[in-house]
Symmetry: C2
Subunit: 180 residues, 2 copies
DNA sequence: TCCATCATATATCGATGCGATATACGCATG
DNA sequence: CATGCGTATATCGCATCGATATATGATGGA
């Protein structure tokens, strides 16, 4: 989803500065499926302001840079709903890890095992974090986003664990074949 | 993974033009986890050529634009392996669908049901396509990438199907609450 | 105590990437 | 006989990513 819409979604829940929007996007269950950087947020807020979809007021702070606090406008609410009504494009799963796995035969012996094991650890860590996170407040929509994320990570971790040994053995065999 | 590395990976399996590289990236099991456009591939090939990681020869064709066929060089092979040895960053799952689900309460009644059902259909279609695809030639690395993708899509479809009714009922209830 | 690092807060820069578009021709389908 | 699709190249504008600059207070370890 584009940065403007992401910002509007955060502002809908309450006024916020660019910095606070970034934090909000990092903490929500949504953080696993959407992401932005300051390099996207600040220009997006400017565009939003220019188009009347948000307004900005500056709050002076003691010994800190001024805080620019943004609020969503009625026009912004309209734009957000309009964006939500567009048929969402397909999910996109980007994985450099799987690219490495795909070309495993090019790697020195042992390297793949280390990469696979690190990845399993990474998935497990993510899962533990999500299970610990106390996001289930009822039957609201955010809980399902959270549940979806958990289901995906568990499937990924499970698949890798079930095939770990074969993958590593297969790559070792393949490396020998290529070397000949 | 950056476009240059993606191009090198394709060129490793054989010489190819920009157009053929695009097709190769679309057809491999990898296509679900990596993706590029012409707007990335052609500049990447130019950079590759400039840095001596690929060479280009022009092939005249009858009644067609000339074909620029690229080959990987020894330097290119080195660069590819070097890229593969970098610790891969975390997977990134981008989903506009989950963003819509997250903000379900803003949608008109009935819209969410339609979006969820479309998404289930989309996942099922992808799964059917991947199951039909005759990618399993043995125990090679690409098979595991294929298997990983299938596992993820199955988990996604399964989660959505199991929670479909709750999600839709919950959103309807939430909409009423917000409307009050 | 001092130095490093982190958290708060804004913002920009260059490189990269995405999606649409332009050009050009043959072939098939309706 | 026209419309669109497949082959083939390439570029344009805009969005985005990751790093960096600037400034200050708080925290914490050597």
């Amino acid at each position: 989803m584009d940065s403007k819409t992401l910002c509007l979604a955060v502002l809908l829940k309450g006024d916020a500065s660019g910095y606070e929007i970034k934090k909000a996007l990092e903490s929500a269950p949504l953080s696993h499926f959407q992401d932005t950087s300051f390099g996207s947020i600040y220009p997006a807020l400017n565009r939003l302001t220019a188009h009347g979809q948000a307004v900005c007021r500056e709050e002076a702070q003691d010994k800190r840079p001024d805080k620019k606090v943004y609020s969503i406008t009625q026009d912004g609410r309209r734009a957000l709903v309009e964006a939500l009504l567009q048929p969402p494009g397909p999910d996109r799963y980007r994985s450099d890890f799987l690219f490495v796995l795909f070309l495993a035969e090019l790697l020195p012996a042992g390297h793949l095992a280390q990469v696979v094991d690190s990845r399993i650890a990474l998935y497990d860590e993510r899962i533990a974090h999500m299970e610990a996170c106390d996001c289930a407040q009822g039957q609201a929509a955010p809980d399902y986003v959270h549940g979806f994320g958990l289901a995906i990570y568990r499937a990924a971790a499970d698949y890798l664990k079930r095939h770990r040994d074969e993958i590593i053995a297969g790559a070792a065999q393949e490396s020998r074949r290529v070397a000949e």
